[in-house]
Every structure is written in structure tokens, then in C-alpha cells.
């Protein structure tokens, strides 16, 4: 499963979002994910990939695509 698919899986389960409506362009607001959903998703993704997503970085995510891109970048760094 790709990193994007795994991230989608985690976020959809935590925030109870239908995966069908999740695209890279979707904002968290459009997906109806609240601040706690986002924090819990960050925690779950950090755990899953053994990476860190600083809050300062997370605040810069404009949409789901930015989120996925950051996770992909950190996973790639780990090799």
C-alpha cells in the first residue's frame, strides 16, 4: 500500500471520513475534520511511520495533499 493510501486509511478511520471524498486538494475543513481529528491523525501517522511531524509544519498544511507530501518526504528520508 502506498504512503498516500496508508495516510488516507488512518485519517478516514480517525475522523470518520469517507475515503471517496478525500483527495489531495481537499482541505481538512471540507473533509469536516476538526482540530482533535488532525492531532489524533498526526499521532497515529507518526506512530505508523516512526517519523515526527512538528506542529509548526502541520500548521502549514493547506490541504490533504500537503499532509501526504510531508509524510512521503519524511518516509523517504528514512530510506
Amino acid at each position: 500500500m502506498s504512503v498516500e493510501e496508508q495516510v488516507k486509511d488512518i485519517v478516514s478511520k480517525i475522523a470518520h471520513i469517507d475515503k471517496e471524498i478525500m483527495s489531495r486538494d481537499s482541505t481538512f475543513k471540507e473533509m469536516k475534520a476538526d482540530s482533535l481529528d488532525i492531532v489524533q491523525a498526526l499521532v497515529a501517522i507518526e506512530e505508523q511511520f516512526d517519523i515526527e511531524i512538528p506542529d509548526e509544519e502541520a500548521q502549514k498544511f493547506r490541504n490533504f495533499g500537503d499532509f501526504v507530501a510531508f509524510v512521503e518526504q519524511e518516509v523517504a528520508k528514512k530510506g
Binding site: L36, L42, V43, E46, E52
Partner: protein, 261 residues
């Protein structure tokens, strides 16, 4: 000999803020420290570097104390690596700031689990490692347990529960030789709070604090250090307030700033 020499303390959430200040205070008194963090390993490592300057031993264990399985992993690791514990500080906290009508079940559970349930579950495990060691447990609360701040309902309730758990533990653990107390502070000038002040979400409370400045993490650490000392032996199940007098000043003090308004 330093007062805490030969002792081992676990401080949850000690990568930064109040937890870090407590860890540094203990280390300055000769205590070995287990630094616990949730998400920022770099901050925890930095804390350890600073602790080592006092010549104490340090260890780092990651754990989300809002998750009972992770609490068990944390204490299993401590048992395996150290086999005992003298001091446990329940400091790690989180919370959802929302008006009461917007607090849903998920926000409630998240806040209560990290802020209150963790104290119960961690203390149960800590007690097993403190047998015959005159253990000390201190929880970190806030004035929101008693007083009302906007959007603080979930955290305030969790802190009230934390203080109640502290009292019950104090009585049930007394025969085991373990003392349990809490330290409660008003808004503490941590990096997190400074960020919120900069964003305009929280006001600088210096002018409404009778002593004329905000509470610092070191002020809280000093009270915690007293509660784990032998001098505090007969203090059990109490919540010591560290707020520069804010909570008992019914009318905020008149300062030069407010006089000029």
C-alpha cells in the same frame, strides 16, 4: 549529600515546559531522571543533555499516557531497565479548548484520559516499583479545576478529577509508605503560553497577579520539590496552589498599568 541523591524519578511530559523545569530541579538535587515524551524526541534529548550537567543519570522513554497500553509499556520498560522508582510526577497534559456545547465524546475522552486517567493508571504501576522505598507521587493540576475560564471546561473537569484521584490515592497509598499530592498553578509562562499570548489568544496576566508577575515553570518545580522532600512527610492528598495570590484576590490588584487606564 544532595537531598535526592540515589533517587530515581519519572516525570511525564518532561521534554519541555513545567515537566522540564521539574526534571531540572530534581537533577540539581542529585536525582536520576527518566524523561518521558509523547511526540518530540529532540526536545526530550535536549532535556537529557541539560540534566547531565548536574552529573545525574538519565533515560528517555516515549509514551502517550492517554493510552493504557502505552502506560503499561512505559512501566514495563522502567521495570526492566531500572527495577524500581522513587518519585513519579504526573505532569503530561493535553486538552481540547471548546465552549461546553461543542465538547463531544471524543474531545472529552481525549482530555480526561491524558489528564486524569493517566494519573490513576500510572500511579498503580508506579506503586509496584516503589515498594519499601517511601515513594512520592505529585500530580500537576491547574486552577481551572475550581474556577471557570472560557473554553476550558473539558480541561477544568479533567483537573478536578485529577485532584480527586490524588486525594484517594493519598489515603490508599499511605499504608504503603507512598505520599501523594498535587500542585496547581494559574497560567504558567511556558513557551506554549507565550505563543498563545503572541497570537492574542491569552492575555499577559502579570498585572492581575498580586505579586506582579506570572507564574514560571520554576515556581511550580519549587513546590513539587518541597512535596517530594522529607519535610513534607505529613502533607497528604493536598493540592498546593502556586499562583502568586491570583485565586484569592477577589478584585485584581491596582497596578501602575491599570491606574493609568
Amino acid at each position: 549529600m544532595k537531598p535526592l541523591e540515589g533517587k530515581l524519578a519519572l516525570v511525564t511530559g518532561s521534554g519541555r515546559g513545567i515537566g522540564k523545569a521539574i526534571a531540572l530541579k530534581f537533577a540539581s538535587q542529585g536525582c536520576d531522571i527518566i524523561v518521558n515524551y509523547f511526540r518530540r524526541r529532540e526536545a526530550a534529548e535536549q532535556t537529557c543533555e541539560e540534566l547531565k550537567q548536574f552529573g545525574v543519570k538519565t533515560d528517555i522513554v516515549k509514551a502517550n499516557v492517554g493510552d493504557p497500553d502505552k502506560i503499561n509499556e512505559l512501566f514495563d520498560t522502567i521495570a526492566e531497565r531500572h527495577g524500581h522508582l522513587d518519585i513519579f510526577i504526573s505532569n503530561a497534559a493535553s486538552g481540547v479548548g471548546r465552549p461546553i456545547m461543542e465538547i463531544d465524546s471524543k474531545a472529552w475522552d481525549w482530555t480526561l484520559n491524558i489528564n486524569a486517567k493517566a494519573m490513576l493508571l500510572c500511579s498503580q504501576r508506579a506503586a509496584g516499583l516503589m515498594e519499601g522505598r517511601q515513594g512520592k507521587i505529585v500530580s500537576i493540576s491547574s486552577l481551572g479545576s475550581t474556577f471557570v475560564w472560557p473554553t476550558y471546561a473539558a480541561v477544568g473537569v479533567s483537573k478536578a478529577a485529577l485532584e480527586a484521584v490524588t486525594r484517594y490515592l493519598a489515603i490508599e497509598f499511605a499504608p504503603k509508605g507512598i505520599s501523594v499530592n498535587a500542585v496547581s498553578a494559574s497560567a504558567v509562562a511556558t513557551e506554549a503560553l507565550k505563543f498563545y499570548m503572541k497570537e492574542g489568544l491569552v492575555k499577559d496576566m502579570s498585572s492581575t497577579t498580586p505579586v506582579g508577575r506570572m507564574v514560571t515553570p520554576e515556581d511550580v518545580a519549587n513546590a513539587v520539590a518541597f512535596l517530594v522532600s522529607d519535610e513534607a512527610y505529613m502533607i497528604r492528598g493536598q493540592t498546593i496552589i502556586v499562583d502568586g495570590g491570583t485565586s484569592i484576590a477577589l478584585v485584581p490588584p491596582v497596578t501602575e498599568k491599570s491606574e493609568n487606564k
